[in-house]
Structures are given as C-alpha cells and as structure tokens.
C-alpha cells in the first residue's frame, strides 16, 4: 500500500509498478522512483541505525550526499553494503536490507551505546582502549568492529563484470541541472564535441524537484525542449547515471557510469563502467548541497532537508509526512511551505531564526495559512523511531509543535569538491554564507549553484541568509555529522583538546570521514570550530577534497583486468604442441612454460624429471627457450655500444661467433646475463633472461639515447619474432644433422659458433652452438611461425622433450647462476664471474663495482653444497649455521639459493651464497630451515658438479 503516494503528479511512471523487498518485506513502487522515494511512499521512514550509537535513522536527503539511509543492495556474492537509498533506482526484484542493527531495525540492542555516549565521545578509541596493549588486537578491535560499523561485505568474489572506456571531447559538462543544460545548449551550437554527464538517471537537476520558472515558462517545459535539442545534436554525448568522481592532471576526468545497477543483472552487460574522459575544457555545474541545522534530535527519522522534502513531493509525488514544521534560515522556507501546502500536507509552522523575515514571506505564509515563528529556533526534536514533536527556542521559547515531518535548511553549499582536486582551496563568501570554488583546475570553469549563483534567471534568491551553525540552548544529541555520529559537543571537545585545525578535527572526531565524506557536515563542523576558536570561517578553511567524489567499487577500477585478464598470458609458438605432448605448465613471468612432459606411467614430477635429465646426459633432449629475451643490435657502432653495456668485451668477438655476456647495473651489482652472437661485423643478436627482457631493452635504450647518443646503431627487440629450442646431449649433432643438409660438423660449427642454415621443411634457421646443460648442445632459432613444426621435427628425429624443471637440474649440475642467484644483491665476484670484468674499457657499473665493500673477500659468494647423508634432501632458503653454534642470526653464514635432485649424481645438490665462499670448501654446516623445522648436514663443495673440465662441450 503506497499510502503516502499522492494520487497524481510527479515524474514517475504509474503505469509501471515495481515490486521490491526491504528487510524481506515485499513492497511496491513505480518506475522512476529511487529506493528512498519508494520507502517513503510506503510510509517507511526508519531505514537504518547509526554508526556508533545505533540511533534510529531515516532519510535525510534525496541525493548522493545521504549520510543516513545506507542499505545493503542485492544478495549473496553480489551484496553491496553502504549504498545510498536516495540514489538507488528501483527495479523489479530489488532486494534491500537495513544494516548495522542487531537483532532488528526497530529493536537494536546496541542502542545502549547511546547511554554510554560519554565513553564513545570523540577520541574514545585512543583514550579507552589503551591498556593492556595485548588486548587491542584480540579483544578491543573485534568488539569495536562488531559494535561500530556500517554494512557487511559479502566476503565473496565480486560476481559482476565491469567495463572501462576512454572518451575524448572538446568540453565536458559536469552536471545536467539548469546551469549544465544552459552550457550544453551553448556548446551544442558551436559544434564542439561535448560530453554531458550527470549522476542522476534523468536530466534536469533541481528542476525536477523545484517548481521553478525559466525565461517565463515552467522549468519542466524548458527542460523537455532543452533535452530534445541536446539529444538531437550530433556533437553531444549524454551520459546519465554517470558521476564524475575525479579531476586528474592534463584534463583527465574519471566518471563512474552505473550501467545496470537500475535493473536485474543481464549476462554480457557490465554492472558499471569506469570512464576516463579527456577534455581540455570542462564546466563544473555540480549544483549545491543543502546543509542540515544543528539542534537536539536533528537525526530523528522524520527530520529531513527541506530541498529533499520538495524533491519527494514534486518529483516522486510522495508525502514524506502528514503534519510538517519547516525550520530554515533562508528562502528555502518559503519554497518549502508552498510545496507542502500544495501537496496537501498540513504545515504547523515556519520557524525562521532571522529576526526580520522578508515581507514577501509573511504574505506568502498568510496566504497559505502557515504561522511564522520569526527570530525563533528549534531546540529539540523528539520521537524515538519517528518524529512526534519539536520544541521551539529564541523568541518562541516554550512553544511545542506536534509534527511527523521537519523540513530543515541551513543554506546551500556549492558542490566545490571537484574544483579542489588539483589542490585549489575553496573561497568563503559571506554574502551567501558558503564556500565557492577558488583556483580552478586548468580548463575548468564553474557555473550556476556550483559557483555560488543560486536560482534560475528571473527567479533569484530574494532574501539574505542568516548563518546558523548551531542552535543555542539545544538539548539532547545535536549531530553535525550524521554518518559518523559526531555531535556539536564532540567538535567542542576537539577544540578543548587542541585539535583545532580542520584536518585534526577530522581525524580526531571522524567528522567528514567514511562513505559520504562529510557532504552534509564539513562546512557546519568547521564553522562551529571557527566560532569556538575565535577565527573566521575563511581563516579556519576546509579539509582537502580528494577523489573520488562518491564511492567507487574496486571492481570498477579493476574493470575487466582481473583473474586471467589481470595481465597478458604469453604462450610460445610451440605451446599447443607441448600441450598435445601432455606437458604441464607453470607461469614464468607473463609466460606459460612447460615444467615437464610426464609419460603415462609416471606418477611424480621427480620421475619425469629424472628421465628427462638422463635423456639429455645420455642421448639428446630439447627444450623450448623461446621466452629468453632477444635483442637485435645493428650499426657501425654496435660493437662499441655492447662494449659499454656489457662488463666483458664484445668488440673482439669475430663474426660467426658467440660469447657469454655479463651486464652490471651502474651501482656495480650484476644486472643480467646471456649470450651475444655476432652475425656480421655490424650485426649482433643477444639474449637476456626471460624475466629481464623488457628491463634490458629499456636499459639499452637509456644507454644509447641518454649516455651514448653519438653512437650510430639501432636496437630492436625480436623476442616475439623467433622460436628457439635448445637441443642438448651426446646425440645432439646426429639429430641436428637429420634436420638439415648444412654442415654441422665440429669443424664447421664448433663450440660458441653460429651459422645460418635451412632446415628441412624448409625453414630458415640460425644455429648457435651454445650450451647451458654442459652437453654438446645447439640452440636452434626459426621464425616464430615455424616453432611448432620444429618441435615436432626434433621429436621425430629422436630427441626427448624436456621442461623447465629439467633445465634447472641441468644448469645446477653445471653450477650456472640464474634468477635466484642474480638477485640484485650479488656482484660478479660473488657469482665467481669476477674475472669477466674488463680492465681495459669503461662500462656500465665498472666504477662502483670497485667499491671496497664489494671487493671484501668475506662477502657471501656462490658455492656448491651436497648433503653428508646420501639420501638427505635439501631445501632452498635454508640457512647455514656452523656445528655446535645455536641457530641465531649472528651465526648465519649464508643460505641455500637453489636445490635439485641430481639424477646424474644420485643425490641432492645445491647452490648457496656463503660468507667467504669457495675458500671454505670442505667445511660442514647445518642447513637449518626454522620455518619447516628441518635440518640437514651439508658440505661445501665445488660449484660445478658435473663435468667440471667441460669436455662434453667441445666434442
């Protein structure tokens, strides 16, 4: 029963009734309603409990500034807490719940907090819960979180989808009230590309709520004509349900569009869309937000902002009460009594604190038969869960008026928030008792109410406002910030305790925090503080407004970039082939790489890896190494450039030969390593580690463009252009010979040489005789499109595929450092590569690599480890402690960086960084892992476990 809905009028669609639920009760509203309007139409005025005192709360406003009417919308994983009922659009099946109440909205046990309010005053956390310290985390915090809070998060992954979009325009108009629409009409005629954005689902702003005239015609008539004109303009893009939430540098604006929050979820349609709008100019037509007045019980359900009362009457044809009192210090009083009377609501009185009320107001009140109480205030509103009466003060002290609705207005604050996002401070204007935008972000101008220009043409404010920040003599709790339960005495307490700066006031009392960010409370709070400290409001200033203007779901900021779409997944050209071979994959940076290729009878990773290792050591295996970064460097000065970026010399490399290269950072630590092939006198092709591919390229560009711009060369990343496989093992040459007619004999293609060849297929290829495994080995590079074909050919020729795990065992057996050892804290000498640093040339990192601390012989350097007991396993990360010493940091001599079971040697092996390094060969340590409570006795051994002479490489 919509018993509080007027029989006609309003901008709702009475032909489309909508069923929804509130706290499980099924109710009905109309299309065009907000949830708040529909609740009021059903006579529901108690909608929530307050944050700290659990006081009954109703609906204060009719817009995004709402501090009280916060509800949980939707159910299950889609549940969204703290949504404002005043902007939530009604749709069929909408499920809303009140929040922060226990056990029920009407009877809340925790409202006892109100009786304990001396304890819960500002700063109570800091004073009350100080001792004992151990209690904070286990007892106090959970207790406070249960008692004080807003809605509940679902705790489940967000089931909705979100979109992101960028748009460019010549001008962005923020707000489609009368000022924004007038600006849009003007811009539409110029042909500029315009975006007009408004948070509401309908254009018009206050024109939808107030019975105004524009240029002599009813505002709604003007609105309809204007909207038709704008919608017909080709250069106009209109975004409704879109809140501009922030202004960023360079004319960049963020906008949140609620694409389907106003209807049941639909597959394939995002819930919300985050817009990035780039526009050199913008018009700030964000309107103004009404201020509450501060008196006792100003939060009782039934006390509403006067402008909101008019919105519910005019726009939604809802009667927010049956018997009203109006309390206003400005012209809103006149507008409100007129609309109340027109809606058939009895008005018990207009309470106006101005001693001299304008004659026109008297005439109006007389004609409406509304008594005026001039020079009067309201001291106290009473009623518990619903307003029953108000007690007057000032010139009308002693009078009590019965009412169930109190419409209040303390004046209007221009919505200056966005104007401050670049640091511009709002400027106080005494004549309108409000802040207006100060220094604007570049390209932004304010218009209409946002600029402090209230009213419409020919319908301006007629009487001056009398600022009234706090009613003197008020009794009972007088709230400044409804959402945070901050009262006028809390502000006074902050002043007494020295928190007089506005930013301190905010932190100490929480005034202006949480989801509404003080939209209805900031100015009132700082005005009270100004009066208490004998400063002007201008001197007191505002807190800093930062984006977002209204809350933005994290999901909207993430957009579609979540789960597997968080970052790109890179697959090598032979990925599908490897998948068909049954490979198991692991994420390695952005890449998916095969870890191993299990055979049907193998049940553990170790079984597969041991088989793959033996295949390489005894026959031949091949491994996809496409992910290594590849950079092509060409030009007359390419050799000189590589001499500069590598620690060892590259200019002496002969064409057709390959050399291992080591790079340092400028601070002297190791940066990256790889191979450098000289394909021609002025043409080099080098590899980087998989992880550093992008970083090395950037470093090269920096070294060339900034440090050595005089060098003549070109740098190009070619990682994606080539598929590359390592073919390793005693049979490698035999297998390679099956793939090509080229001469691949030891004489034609010796160790560390490279040739171009054509593989059967035919496939153009580059062959590099280089080895990471320590076996006779080749790396074969073919254009990426041939990658899968080459893998198939290698398998066909008799090589066994192996994965990353086997690659790791093979390199560990050879003592090669990789990422775990090239960890940014190791020097070339730490890794046993100190001799590679050229003494004959300048190179990146040379100077600082010579720092005494980096040359200290006691630095942790790389050694090999083996367990003393043959069957013992080793764990990476274990720390090395001498025998007989307690396991303390002081006795820590180093740690294990990499471990593997060596099928070749039949026991576990490890690399470790140990103080003093190789000179401690033969020493015994305890390898301790306190996290897993393991301990293994280990011995320091030579770093190269397999074929230390490297004989296999040269066959």
């Amino acid at each position: 029963m919509q018993s509080f809905r007027a029989p006609q009028g309003g901008l709702i669609d009475r032909a489309t009734p909508i069923d929804f639920t509130f706290d499980g009760q099924t109710l009905q509203g109309y299309a065009g309603d907000t949830l708040a309007a529909a609740l009021l139409a059903n006579g529901i005025r108690l909608v929530g409990r307050s944050f700290k005192y659990h006081r009954p709360r109703g609906i204060l406003s009719a817009g995004p500034e709402e501090p009280n009417a916060l509800v949980e919308l939707r159910e299950g994983a889609a549940r969204e807490p703290n949504t404002r009922a005043t902007v939530a659009e009604l749709f069929p099946g909408l499920a809303a719940r009140s929040q922060n109440r226990f056990p029920s909205l009407k009877f809340d046990l925790l409202s006892v907090n109100g009786l304990l309010s001396p304890i819960f005053a500002a700063g109570f956390y800091y004073k009350t819960f100080m001792w004992p310290a151990a209690f904070w985390e286990r007892i106090y915090e959970p207790l406070i979180r249960r008692a004080a809070g807003l809605g509940r998060a679902s705790g489940l992954p967000d089931p909705d989808s979100y979109d992101k979009q960028t748009a460019f325009a010549d001008v962005l108009i923020i707000g489609a009230g009368p000022a924004g629409l007038a600006a849009a009409l003007h811009e539409a005629a110029t042909g500029a590309r315009v975006i007009l954005a408004d948070q509401d689902f309908a254009l018009g702003g206050r024109l939808l709520s107030d019975r105004r005239a524009i240029d002599g015609e009813p505002a709604l008539t003007w609105l309809a004509k204007t909207e038709a004109t704008l919608r017909a303009a080709a250069n106009m893009r209109i975004l409704t349900r879109t809140t501009i939430t922030g202004i960023y540098d360079g004319g960049t604006y963020a906008g949140l569009e609620r694409v389907s929050d106003h209807r049941a979820p639909q597959q394939g349609v995002p819930r919300q869309r985050l817009w990035r709008i780039v526009a050199p100019r913008a018009v700030l037509a964000t309107g103004a937000i009404e201020r509450p007045l501060v008196f006792g019980g100003n939060d009782v359900p039934g006390v509403m902002l006067a402008g909101a009362v008019r919105t519910y009457i005019n726009r939604f044809a809802v009667k927010p009460g049956s018997r009203a009192v109006v309390f206003a210090n400005n012209d809103d009083g006149a507008r409100t009594i007129a609309d109340l009377v027109a809606a058939g609501i009895k008005v018990a009185g207009l309470v106006d604190p101005r001693p001299e009320t304008p004659p026109a107001l008297h005439d109006l009140a007389r004609s409406l038969n509304v008594p005026i109480f001039a020079g009067a205030t309201i001291l106290r509103a009473k009623g518990g869960t619903a307003l029953k009466q108000v007690t007057l003060g000032g010139k009308s002290a002693g009078i009590t008026l019965a009412c169930d609705l109190l419409a209040m207005s303390g004046g209007w604050n221009p919505a200056v928030h966005l104007a401050s996002h670049h640091g511009g401070k709002p400027v106080w204007r005494d004549d309108i008792a409000a802040f207006v935008p100060g220094t604007m972000p570049p390209g932004v101008t304010a218009a209409g109410a946002a600029a402090g220009q209230f009213g419409t043409p020919g319908d301006n404010e007629t009487s001056p406002i009398l600022p009234l920040w706090q009613v003197e003599g008020a009794t009972g709790k007088a709230f400044v910030d409804f959402q945070n339960d901050v009262t006028a005495p809390d502000v006074a307490l902050a002043a007494r305790e020295g928190f007089t700066a506005v930013e301190h006031l905010k932190r100490y009392t929480t005034l202006g925090m949480a989801t509404d960010q003080g939209k209805t409370s900031n100015v009132t709070g700082l005005a009270i503080m100004a009066a208490l400290t004998g400063r002007t409001i201008a001197q007191t200033g505002t807190t800093v407004f930062r984006p977002p203007f209204t809350p933005v779901a994290i999901g909207a900021m993430a957009g579609p970039h979540r789960g597997p779409y968080f970052r790109p997944t890179r697959r090598t050209p032979a990925h599908d082939w490897a998948e068909q071979q049954g490979a198991t994959f692991i994420e390695a940076g952005e890449w998916l790489r095969a870890t191993h290729f299990p055979l049907p009878h193998e049940t553990t990773l170790q079984q597969s890896v041991d088989r793959e290792v033996r295949a390489v050591r005894n026959a031949a295996g091949f491994c996809d190494v496409t992910t290594l970064g590849k950079i092509d460097v060409q030009g007359p000065d390419a050799a000189a450039f590589l001499d500069f970026v590598y620690a060892n010399t590259m200019s002496t490399l002969k064409p057709g030969r390959v050399r291992y290269g080591l790079m340092l950072r400028e601070d002297g630590f190791v940066f990256d390593d790889g191979t450098v092939a000289r394909l021609a006198p002025h043409h080099f092709l080098l590899t980087t580690t998989t992880a550093n591919a992008a970083r090395v390229l950037r470093h090269f560009d920096f070294c060339h463009q900034i440090l050595r711009p005089e060098l003549d060369l070109c740098i190009e990343p070619v990682t994606d252009q080539w598929a590359q496989f390592a073919l390793a093992g005693p049979q490698a040459r035999t297998i390679l010979a099956k793939l090509t007619d080229a001469d691949v004999s030891n004489a034609a293609l010796p160790f560390m040489a490279t040739i171009e060849a054509t593989l059967n297929g035919p496939m153009p290829a580059r062959l590099f005789r280089i080895s990471f495994s320590g076996e006779l080995a080749y790396e074969i590079a073919v254009p990426a499109s041939h990658g899968a074909a080459l893998a198939a050919a290698l398998l066909q020729a008799g090589a066994m595929p192996y994965g990353l795990e086997t690659l790791n065992v093979l390199r560990l057996e050879k003592g090669h450092p990789v990422g775990a050892e090239l960890n940014g804290q190791t020097t070339a000498a730490d890794l046993g590569l100190g001799a590679m640093l050229s003494k004959k040339k300048d190179f990146i990192g040379r100077a600082l690599a010579q720092r005494p601390a980096l040359l200290d012989p006691d630095r942790e350097t790389l050694v090999g480890l083996r367990p003393r007991a043959p069957g013992a396993t080793l764990q990476a990360g274990a720390h090395l402690v001498p025998h007989g010493s307690p396991t303390t940091a002081a006795n820590d001599h180093g740690h294990i960086t990499s471990v593997a079971y060596s099928a070749t040697l039949g026991h576990w092996i490890a690399l470790a960084l140990v103080a003093g390094g190789a000179r401690r060969t033969g020493e015994i340590f305890r390898a301790v892992n306190p996290l897993q409570n393991t301990e293994t006795e280990v011995e320091i051994v030579a770093r190269v476990f397999h074929d230390p002479e490297g004989t296999a490489l040269h066959v």
């Binding site: 960023y248 400028e666 920096f702 900034i706 100077a847």
Partner: protein, 81 residues
C-alpha cells in the same frame, strides 16, 4: 596525467615510465668515487620545476625530457631527450 610525445602526440601516463632527474651527467671513466656516488645515489627533491626523463615504453621507446612542476604537476615542456 598526460604527456605530449614529440613522436606520437598526446598520450596517457600509463604508456610512459619515469626515469628521474634529466640533468645528471654520467661521470668520466676515471672520476673519483664521490662523483659516482652522487651520480648513482644522490637525488634532489625540488618543489617546483623539475627536469626529468620519461620513457615512452609502450610506444615509440623514445626518451623524453619533461619539464614538470612537482607542486602542480603542470607540464612545462616535452622534448626528445
């Protein structure tokens, strides 16, 4: 924030990466260690105009010399470094 790349035109900040002070000069090969420490580790943190390097990583790979006011984020000039 947006930067106007001399090669690519105005682009969003996410295409660029920051490389710090553009006025640093790498010391000569035989310079004393103090010069190297200054070059590698010591940075001014000016409040106001700052000359800095940005790298157009996601597009043309050009290093840019950007004059930026660190207080207002105003971009005063952009040129190829």
């Amino acid at each position: 924030m947006r930067l106007s790349c001399p090669c690519c035109g105005p682009r969003g900040i996410e295409e660029f990466s920051y490389f710090g002070d553009a006025t640093l000069a790498r010391p000569a090969a035989g310079a004393p260690p103090e010069d190297w420490v200054d070059y590698v580790y010591i940075r001014n943190n000016p409040a106001g105009p700052h000359s800095e390097l940005w790298y157009h990583q996601s597009a043309c790979r050009q290093f840019l010399r950007v004059e930026r006011n660190t207080l207002t984020h105003e971009i005063l000039s952009v040129s190829a470094a």
